[in-house]
Amino acid sequence: MLAMRQAGFVLGAYGVSLTAIVLYTAGLLARARRAARRLPGEERPWQ
């Protein structure tokens, strides 16, 4: 029982962390696409 409860906390911690990272990254890339659509043909220093 104790082990099961602990497993819940451990998996929860990993789940929350990875979900947060994935959501932030997805949002970031979406923002990049949105901005890029408004700047067609613009020179980008990194490309």
């Binding site: 082990a3 929350v16 970031l28």
Partner: protein, 259 residues
Amino acid sequence: MNTTAPTAATDNASNASAAAPVRDKRPTSTRFTQVLGVIVLAGFAWLVVFGLLLSPDDSEQRSLVRIMYVHVPSAWLAYLAFVVTGVASAAYLWRRSRNLQWDRLAGASAEVGILFMAITLVTGSLWGRPTWGTYWTWDSRLTTTAFLFVTYIGYLAVRGLGGSHHQRARRSAVMALLAVLEVPLVHFSVRWWRPLHQGQTVEAQKIDGLMLFSLFVGLVAFTLLYVWLVLHRMRVALLDDEVDDRGLDAALAARRAEG
């Protein structure tokens, strides 16, 4: 800037949409960040494998020690991110050139730092509940971390206030330096307020080799993720600034066309 800007822009647009559809799908990535991204994914896969499966249970904390492989690296990187914000802000104000890249680095690092600090606080609570019997204690380290979190949320709000790019940069740079002043004051006042410390967490205990390695994997994965996120965030910031500039140019051109 010239009065023919709008037509030139539309010409460019029709050309570019035909020529570079791929480029606009992943506008902020380069060969370097793509390779780095693959390494980050592999690093997190390793972290999950080592953290959840391969590393042994701790004698005292049992399986809860696994939370530490996420908690400790994200905490370290969050603090590092805020140091980077402070240094970049100082560099922006210090250098006569007033390079906006420093400002974008400061903002990007703060944003990623907030993400990591949120992860730190949540994983810390999830560790504390079964270990201490409570999600939160008024320990000086926890309280300072919470204040740091709120302070940098305020910093991001200040970045969003508007104005010209250099206005934003200078205002937020001063804010970041004020935060650097504030954090030690908060830390010491909370420490005096609650002199009794909770026991050290994972660092003080005897650490098994595989545990240490898992922690190391976590640290590498989070560090590379930090670099990847900050690079992309800075590029998005640059694109956003250019969108702003172009909006201004278009408005001016429209105004001129009116006569």
